[in-house]
């Protein structure tokens, strides 16, 4: 049996790459998903990005995707497989794909890789992520204004920087809007269990919370709030407009489409470069879903003003003076947080009770 090596495979990939350059072959775009495209949240929105790429480029692109890819060895295989099939660019859409992406990228230097939410890059590996905390700031403001019991609930998945950032941002802006506000956080310790999210929302509501925020993807908390009545919620990941105008009064939408279209076009033009993208509201990667009329007009106006200030850069969601939970100073008056600290955030800001599990 002839033993072929990765060199041969790489050669095949190179051939495929040069073949499209003369305009006959479509650009092949691969996506690796961590969940099913029917999850209605994280993976669903990435898949919407894939569909947007197809709509934008028509038969100039050929897309492929694989769902439910576990992080680790299976992810490496899925990526290798796509590279062998001649993919020109592969988006790997979960933090846990970081090391596999780097490993496979080493073997296929001519294939471009885009890893979501990680921090390791290479000549052919870019990273991208969204500043969801900007959206949390707007939600926090609305939450602070809307709560009557002064108790806000937050359903969190796992204590990772992304989630902690969101909690802090929401709390800071709720507190600004309403100094009496308290926040209870429930860690459900799962990415995906709609029934548990429903139970968590109910537990919060029964403990006197009347605004529920969530960092989990299902609409279960929305339904629980609708049943309880008088409880405000926000859509997460997707718009969840089926629960508008109330309880869902606004939402954060992950909108990856503009970025994906940009990057695929860069590959087509030959202008693709490794870079780190961390986009927020301004370029539209984070969208604030419609603020419904259940929100008083003045609050809505303030929320929109906050959104615009975040968007044009005149305001940063983490602006001092801010202390850490233990009272030690973090940001001085007027100082804004640097991206490094934000990326690895592992502390609560002052005022949040409870501890971050670790």
């Amino acid at each position: 049996m002839k033993k072929r090596t990765f060199l041969a495979a790489t050669l095949a990939a190179t051939l495929a790459t040069s073949a499209f350059a003369d305009g006959h072959e479509p650009t092949k775009v691969g996506f690796i998903y961590v969940g099913p495209i029917g999850d209605g949240g994280w993976t669903y929105e990435h898949h919407q990005g894939l569909l947007a790429v197809e709509a934008e480029f028509g038969d100039k692109v050929e897309t492929m995707y694989q769902e439910n890819v576990p992080e680790g060895a299976d992810a490496e295989r899925a990526m290798t497989q796509m590279a062998l099939q001649g993919a020109d660019i592969i988006f790997t859409t979960s933090f846990g794909y970081m090391d596999p992406t780097i490993n496979v990228a080493q073997k296929f230097p001519d294939v471009k890789f885009e890893h979501a939410t990680g921090y390791k890059r290479a000549d052919n590996v870019s990273t991208y992520s969204a500043r969801f905390y900007e959206g949390r700031a707007v939600q926090g403001h609305i939450a602070g204004k809307m709560t009557k019991s002064n108790k806000i609930g937050y359903i969190a998945s796992f204590p990772i920087p992304e989630v902690i950032r969101g909690i802090n941002s929401a709390y800071i802006h709720a507190k600004k809007a309403n100094p009496d506000v308290e926040m209870s956080v429930i860690w459900v310790y799962t990415w995906f269990d709609p029934a548990k999210e429903a139970d968590a929302a109910k537990a919060l509501i029964e403990n006197g919370v009347d605004v529920v925020m969530q960092h989990t993807d299902s609409t279960a908390p929305q339904a629980a709030a609708a049943e309880a009545g008088g409880v405000v919620t926000f859509g997460q990941a997707s718009d969840m407009s089926e629960y508008a105008p109330f309880p869902r009064v606004s939402s954060i939408i992950d909108n990856w489409a503009p970025y994906y279209i940009d990057r695929v076009r860069a590959v087509m033009d030959g202008t693709w470069e490794s870079m780190d993208t961390w986009d927020g509201i301004a370029p539209g990667m984070v969208e604030i879903g419609e603020i419904t009329d259940a929100v008083p007009a003045d609050v809505k106006a303030e929320a929109l003003a906050l959104r615009d200030a975040l968007s044009d850069g005149s305001y940063h969601a983490f602006t001092g003076p801010l202390n850490k939970q233990d009272g030690s100073p973090w940001l001085a008056e007027g100082e804004t947080a640097d991206d490094g600290t934000l990326a690895g955030m592992d502390f609560y800001v002052e005022g949040i009770t409870g501890e971050i599990p670790n």
Binding site: A73, D74, R77, P159, G340
Partner: protein
């Protein structure tokens, strides 16, 4: 009228033939499913069954078959010993997780010392020990308190998953990982890495261990007194007791061996293909191995083949997703159908299908 008549002895011909018949039947039924989803059934079947072994990129997939089959076989061999004796370890997934955590913890404790001759063997021992101890919980509860091992081993899977999340977020988190969950990558730590023994072959120590386990289990079951005790207990617990089998020791032995093997599988996975402890490190090998054990008729060699077949459907199924756009769900349903046919047709091994009335025989 059709009826089944028990054969005096299992048919050797059908024992070899039924898997083939079943796979063929699955191809027909699965092809119909794929056609209904608008995919070319012939291309789909070829992508799943043919391409990974003989296709253009088989040089890569063949190795991956071993990577995927290794842990399945290693775990299933251990489980089969217990299943033969009527001891139900449903929680291999948990033992797999704990083995990985213990092994990885030992490796990480030495970081960045370079002493492969010491560190890697210690990790292997720790992995096996971790799985063994985790399996001893249902073992001791069953022998001391008469607590059902199905429930305990199954629920301990969920406890192990919580410990895994805790480890990935806390004690084992990579201090240079910018606050993100997940441990250091063991593959990048020479002394702890379980890399491929021959580049591109997929052969790592876990695969070697799986083959060794198959051989040992074969010898144990066919030549050794313990193997006889296991079979006897499974067939008739009463007879076994009269024959002097110590049920307590047998329960602890079967659970301990299966736990240790599952722990080993976890260790080799975390130090090799997977590379790190992360929240979602486990992907269900412990549960799939139960299927593999029964598909292989609880026989070590059968398990070897069944493990490879399951691995083939995973890898081929993934390829079909990427190249043909089949949804992951269709592959799952297809795997379910394959199992149904394999298990259903098995009846031909032990029974003869007769047409007509009994009186005419």
């Amino acid at each position: 009228m059709i009826r089944l008549e028990q054969r005096a002895a299992p048919s050797r011909v059908w024992a070899y033939l039924t898997p083939l018949v079943a796979v063929l039947a699955t191809m027909v039924a699965g092809g119909a499913l794929f056609a209904a989803l608008g995919t070319d059934p012939v291309a789909a079947i070829r992508t799943i069954f043919w391409d990974p072994v003989f296709g253009e990129f088989a040089f890569y997939y063949r190795g991956q078959l071993l990577v995927k089959a290794g842990p399945l076989i290693l775990i299933a061999v251990g489980l089969a010993l217990g299943f033969k004796a009527g001891i139900w370890n449903i929680g291999a997934e948990g033992q797999y997780i704990i083995g990985a955590i213990c092994g990885a913890a030992v490796g990480l404790a030495f970081y960045p010392m370079e002493a492969r001759w010491l560190i890697f063997p210690l990790m292997v021992v720790a992995g096996a020990l971790g799985g063994f101890l985790w399996a001893m919980i249902p073992g001791v509860l069953r022998t001391k308190f008469n607590t059902n091992e199905i429930l305990v081993s199954l629920l301990l899977v969920y406890v192990a998953e919580q410990i895994l999340a805790w480890m990935a977020l806390g004690p084992l988190r990579n201090p240079e990982g910018a606050g993100f969950p997940g441990s250091r990558n063991l593959r990048q730590y020479e002394s702890a890495a379980n890399n491929e023994l021959i580049a591109g072959s997929g052969m790592h120590w876990g695969v070697v261990a799986a083959f060794v386990a198959v051989i040992f289990a074969y010898i144990l079951l066919s030549k050794h007194l313990t193997g006889f005790h296991i079979r006897l207990t499974g067939e008739s617990p009463r007879a076994a007791r009269f024959a002097g089998v110590n049920p307590t020791r047998l329960v602890l032995f079967c659970l301990g061996v299966s736990g240790a093997l599952a722990g080993l599988a976890g260790l080799f996975e975390v130090a090799g293909p997977s590379g790190q402890i992360s929240i979602d490190f486990n992907v269900g090998y412990g549960f799939t191995a139960i299927i593999v054990a029964f598909l292989g008729r609880l026989h070590p060699v059968g398990i070897l083949l069944a493990g490879l077949l399951m691995a083939l459907t995973y890898i081929g199924g993934e390829a079909a997703q990427a190249t043909l756009g089949l949804p992951a769900a269709a592959i799952q349903a297809f795997q379910g159908m394959l199992l149904f046919f394999l298990l259903g047709f098995d009846v031909l091994t032990n029974f003869r299908v007769r047409f007509g009335r009994r009186a005419m025989v």
